[in-house]
Amino acid sequence: MSLAEPQSRFFRPDRALLIQAAVALATLALVLGPLVPVLWQSLLDRPLYEAAPLFSLDNYSRLFGNPRFHDALGNSVLLALLSTLIATVLGVAFALFLERTDMPGRGLLRNLTLWPMYVSQLVLAFAWFILYGPSGYVTLAVERVAGVPLWDMYTILGMGLLAGTSQAPVVYLFCSSSARMADATLEDAARSVGAGPLRALWSVSLPLMRPSITYAALLTFIGSLEMLAVPLVFGKPVGLEFFTTFLYIEGLGAITPDYGLIGAAATLLLAVISVLLVIQGLLLRQSKRFVTVRGKAQRPKLAPIGRVGWVVCGAMCLYTALVLLLPLAGIVLRSVTSFLTPLMSPFDLLTLDHFEVLFGYEAYRRAIVNSVIIATFGGALATLFVAMVALVAHRSEFRFRRALEFVALYPRAMPGIIAGIGMFWAMLLLPFAHVLQGTIWLLMLAFTMRGIPMAFGALAPTLHQIGRELDQGARSVGADWWTTVRLIIFPLMKPALFSAYVLLFLAFLKEYAAAVFLFAPGAEIIGTTMLSFWANGSTGPVAALSVIQLAITALFVTLARRSLRTNKDV
């Protein structure tokens, strides 16, 4: 009854409307900027910057007639399915054991399980390569004992293991809340009719989590489709091509890139992911009917699994060590040794050469500085921008606020590499765009566009929690929309702004895929520099850069946690 209805049918050219329109137009430009050139190019018979193009579907027929693309498509689907399977099984098992049972070490393991989310997939791929790659430390050590190499990371199975384990935290995160809130009396009922504790978990708790499992699995599938790092590190050397590496190689490898083919392939990938996102949205709407939590407060009860708990705890510790801690230790060790082999003690090979290389050359120093600037200032600017988008979408009478929210959330469907290609092409098309070309501003724009949905997701729930009467109160005592936003809502959403900033900082620091088409001398970042070192086979500097990125991440996360603790009352 007290909801403010839109007053927009009356045109009032005031400051509120100007700001709201500016925010909406900026969002539209940011999202359509890279999207339109890709769609446009896919229908043109020549590069989009050339005059007098003809429309045709020729690009699509060439794409579908290209056997390399067939392979890439098949490999992508296979890898995505495999990594989704692995990530889902692991993530759901973590959720069940960590949230529903009394296994020992839950507190520590909950934290450890989430750690891979802080680490860039590119760094994780390098780290795995150094340990488990064909000439990796562990691979060779095992080969010396067994006589033959026991595994091959240059396969879809190997890549699936890495991609799956690196995305398991996402599944765990999605399923843990539903596991935590599940009604323990349902499990008790199963126990009372004769089921053991593990049987009750399997037959009752697991099926109740089905909506979150499906949702998380779809998310992982999309994540695996748009993943570039793993296929690049483990697929490219043996000629295994995927959707994203196809775009990468076509765009960067060829002397004269086939614009039409790239456009068509990118459009296809966009279409596939968009469809998956629509399905996910429908699932989410449906899952709200799967309510196991009721208003009545219930004490969460954990299933006692006794000795099995110690076995699971041991398995999880071993797992974390193998997929995360050992590879990270390996990459740290690699960064301070001239090479890494089980045949020689690493302490005889210690060197600071790799760091000297990084700090000795202006371009490498600049890459590190740029990454920090982009994460620190770009992240802050992006946070403010997305906060404005969220405010206009949720706390204004702006006529197109629903459409604005839709546009703002669309970048979820845009893989980093396509965002990069699209931005690059937009620079070719737009007048005056060259002032941005080769600057870190362009990178910030691309990263911001990619980051909108995540930051929006962090801010919107808080906005819903701030009572509407607080802004109505301000309006009624004489504040206009903008004053209300600045002096009432912004201060109240400070904690949410902070967490959105943390998310964006880490995302901007880790981002590389959107940058590979956009960086230029002067605007390098850690990710692109790592890739160029990698292309030259210089593993040492790659390891050193990874260590630097990890150190910045660790420092930032520590600082963020500390200030979050002291700011709790805000």
Partner: protein
Amino acid sequence: MSEVVVDRLNKHYGPVQALHEVSLHVPDGEFLTLLGPSGCGKSTTLFAIAGLDSPSGGRITVGGRDFYNGASGLDLPPEKRNLGLVFQSYALWPHMNVRQNLAFPLRLRKVGKKEQDARIEEALALVEMGAFIDRYPHELSGGQQQRVALARTLVFRPSLLLLDEPLSNLDAKLRIKARSWLKQLQRQLGLTTLYVTHDQSEALALSDRIVVMEKGRVSQLGTPEEIYRRPANAFVADFVGASNFLPGEVVDRNAAASTCRVKLAGGDVLTCLWPDTSAPPAGSLLTVRPEHVGLSAEPPLPGPDVNILAGRILERAYLGARLLYTLDCGHGLVLMAETETRVEGDTAWLRFAVDDTLLVRA
């Protein structure tokens, strides 16, 4: 001058019509209460006047100035209306202390620092909260928050005071104290006040006049006594206080005396008031309040100004000062009587004045 004129206000939420041709006229300095059950449109009306809820048609004028005009498309934003609105939840900004909460509207009006301090002190003194000036909202009790919320609206001297169920979050005892205090304050300031509540006793105690609303329409507008003594229809009679309803058939009408005679299902003929100039429509109901029904063990003396019925006592409830009887008067007619008289035995005579018996539209 801050006379409020609301003229044929409409409000649609999609297919639902929340307000239906609502018209009000509030003279300067009056305390007017919008009373009704939840969903009747009282808060929608208040928020439309405040500018926080856009109507679909009609006109709102305050102090001769158009705030909303559906015909010309004018809809003044809330911040341009200079109205003091007190929210049900108080809406004190949690990140500002009492002083900052009160200073905010003054800062917006570019009031100088010195003047600000003086006015904040004055407003807090008015609500007797001067000692709490440096507290944050979460450090105040519900009653104190409510006073601060009121001070925040008084501090910028609004032309109109709008109150949205401001007492509903207080406990019963505090509510009655706050009620008399609020009334006194309003008298003292002479501010035109619109008050929204669903509590009929609050409305009767506070208001100069009451608007009873039902399903987005104005059911009746009148003084508390008019509303209570002469409800315009069965809804008002039922919502404000409790009422007995007696179905019957109008047998004749005395237009000069504004009375009717009505025959009940059991054959008894009762006399009642019908103040309207037109004939009563079919389906109209006789109504009499339980507290106007007297009981006696012996048959009372009949007379032209009194109605009499016989009944069997079904239940006696002890209310403290009074007793509430439930009586079966035959033919499915069950009446309540609230009286100090103690009647023993199974049967009793009911007696109520014609002046307390009203014929109302269903």
